[in-house]
């Protein structure tokens, strides 16, 4: 287990370095730079600014400086926002994104387990058909459309109730959180529901399930310990990509619901070619995802003894 963890940690570091490098060179390959936004920059001033930010150095030197700062956890200062350090932006706004993401993921996972198991249990009957139809809807409709629909729904609800049952946008209480979290998690939930359903159906055919029935066990024990437990394995593997989907999907949902998360700054930074913010947030998100995928691997090992226990 320790060896496994060390290997995972090493490959995670390499992945993060790769993400950082790729981001750096892609950013420098993009035409324009953060200073080209300023109107009518006097060449003299421009030269001074470039020197000030180190943009006059050869690219490889800049890369070296960037890596050194990255390694010490210093993401630099924003080009476009006065006197804001990228570290501060992340520190202030990431917890908001993280809370939204975690709640969305929990809703998605629990919903997927419930609906997936239900539709497998009622295969080809109306609960299954209803769920599978909704799944297709939730997978195909993009989250910004869902978000708009949800806001329209909240408006109608509030109008019908005569008071604010749920706020349409903003941030502050669990009532602000619940609808964006559902919207954000819905696509992932739909995808995982399909997976859970097919996994449940596959395990239903397994020899060991027949063995369990041949032992005369109670149906609840068979369902939980023999059926569900084994059906969970493939679902757990997609938790990693699911976290990625929820994290990146959060950019759009945060924007629509006016949630002060990190996503908004990321989108803004890309529009303004704010090098430090883009690279800082990208590397940060990359590292976060790599860490999450590693946690999922560990979780998988906890469920599946074939991974946890060496032969």
């Amino acid at each position: 287990m320790t060896g496994f963890l060390l290997r995972r940690l090493l490959s995670s570091l390499i992945t993060i370095w790769f993400i950082a490098t790729a981001t750096f060179f892609v950013m420098h390959a993009v035409p324009g730079d953060p200073l080209s936004n300023e109107k009518a920059v006097n060449p003299e001033i421009r030269r001074h600014l470039e020197a000030r930010y180190g943009l006059d150095q050869p690219v490889l030197t800049q890369y070296g400086i960037f890596l050194r700062n990255m390694a010490t956890g210093d993401f630099g200062i924003s080009f476009t926002q006065q006197n804001r350090r990228v570290n501060d932006i992340i520190r202030e706004h990431f917890p908001v994104s993280a809370l939204l993401g975690v709640v969305a993921l929990v809703i998605a996972t629990l919903g997927a387990l419930l609906f997936g198991a239900l539709s497998a249990q009622f295969r080809d009957r109306w609960p299954d058909r209803t769920i599978m139809l909704s799944v297709i809807f939730a997978i195909s409709v993009p989250s910004f459309v869902l978000a708009a629909l949800a806001q329209w729904g909240i408006l109608s609800l509030n109008k019908a109730a005569g008071f604010t049952v749920l706020p349409v946008a903003g941030w502050g209480s669990w009532r602000h959180l619940i609808v964006p979290a559902v919207v954000l998690g819905l696509g992932t939930m739909a995808y995982m529901t399909r997976l859970m359903r097919s996994s449940m159906l596959e395990v239903a055919q397994a020899d060991y399930l027949r063995t369990a029935r041949a032992k005369g066990l109670g149906s609840l024990r068979i369902f939980v310990f023999h059926h569900m437990r084994n059906a969970l394995l493939p679902v757990v593997t997609v938790l990693g990509p699911a976290i990625a989907a929820v994290t990146t999907g959060g950019f759009v949902v945060e924007l629509i619901f006016s949630i002060p998360g990190l996503g908004r700054y990321f989108v803004q930074a890309v529009q303004q070619l704010d090098y430090t913010v883009i690279m800082g947030t990208t590397v940060f998100y990359g590292a976060f995802l790599v860490l999450m995928v590693m946690l999922v691997d560990i979780l998988y090992g906890l469920i599946d003894p074939r991974i946890r226990v060496g032969k």
């Binding site: 060991y208 063995t211 041949a214 066990l217």
Partner: protein, 343 residues
Amino acid sequence: MSLHEPLLSIEALHVHIRTAAGIVQPVRGIDLQLEAGETLAIVGESGCGKSMTALAVMGLLPVGGSVAAGAVRLSGYRLDNLTESGWREVRGRRIGMVFQNPMSAFNPTMRIGEQIAESLVHHRHLDWDHAHRRAVALLDRMRIPDAATRAQQYPFQFSGGMLQRAMIAMALACGPELLIADEPTTALDVSVQVGLLELLRELQTETGLAILLITHDLAIVAEIAQRVAVMYAGQIVEQAPVDALFAQPAHPYTAGLLQSLPERHEGAGPLSAIAGTPPDLLQPPAGCAFYDRCPAALRLCATAAVPRVEISATQRALCWLRHPAVVGSGAVPPLAEQQGSES
């Protein structure tokens, strides 16, 4: 009829399975009796209905499958019309079952000891601690070395032979009177097979367990069974004590099976096989199901319902060739000669 009830009694059992193509009839009216402490083998090729018979006795027919007619009784107690909760009292507690492929018959995410113990907790209402100790003792009894450590391991850490022993331990955990073993040795090496059969025999003398052995391997039948039922296309075509069956097969299909045994093959040349394939059980034939492949078939075999002929007090066959009316007419030479002239 005597007052005596056999342990297991299968009476005119018909199994139907609904499929997209129509109703398949894998079991078409079989009669079997099994006494306590006895070993009865059901032999036949794949698809002859032997496994379906076993599953019907356990109430574990696949989706779409049902007992269409007939009855299954355990010590006189009717099983085939039980409710699901009624079945749960029988399965594992009164009838244990060992499946063909031990590698896939265990839950891969549960420790072996727990899989044995859960039966004891469920049927015998033991607490988990006690049940675990019993599980270890059972594994030890099945001659699994270092049982205490092994009980803590998962199926993937076991070898095939050891898993099959563990499965027997699991099937026998609650002390059933009947063990159904469906191809218990098929997935195992020959050297491991022998040990397993010895173990089964030992357990039988010790506990008076009855064994219903499903197999296609006549060598195993000779090794362990007292009586044999030969199944073909959903029917029992011959039933006899092992010695009688091997010495004097009464049905041409049995004779063909024995002829295709490598041990019985004499001289060079290829092994003999029974030509043709079994009939389609979506539309079972009206006459004898073996008609197309039978070397000695008569014209009436194609259409007339086949009679069950008592060869002796213990041997019977489903065949016109052995019917007194046919034998008396002198139209048919003895079976051995036919088989000889065939090649």
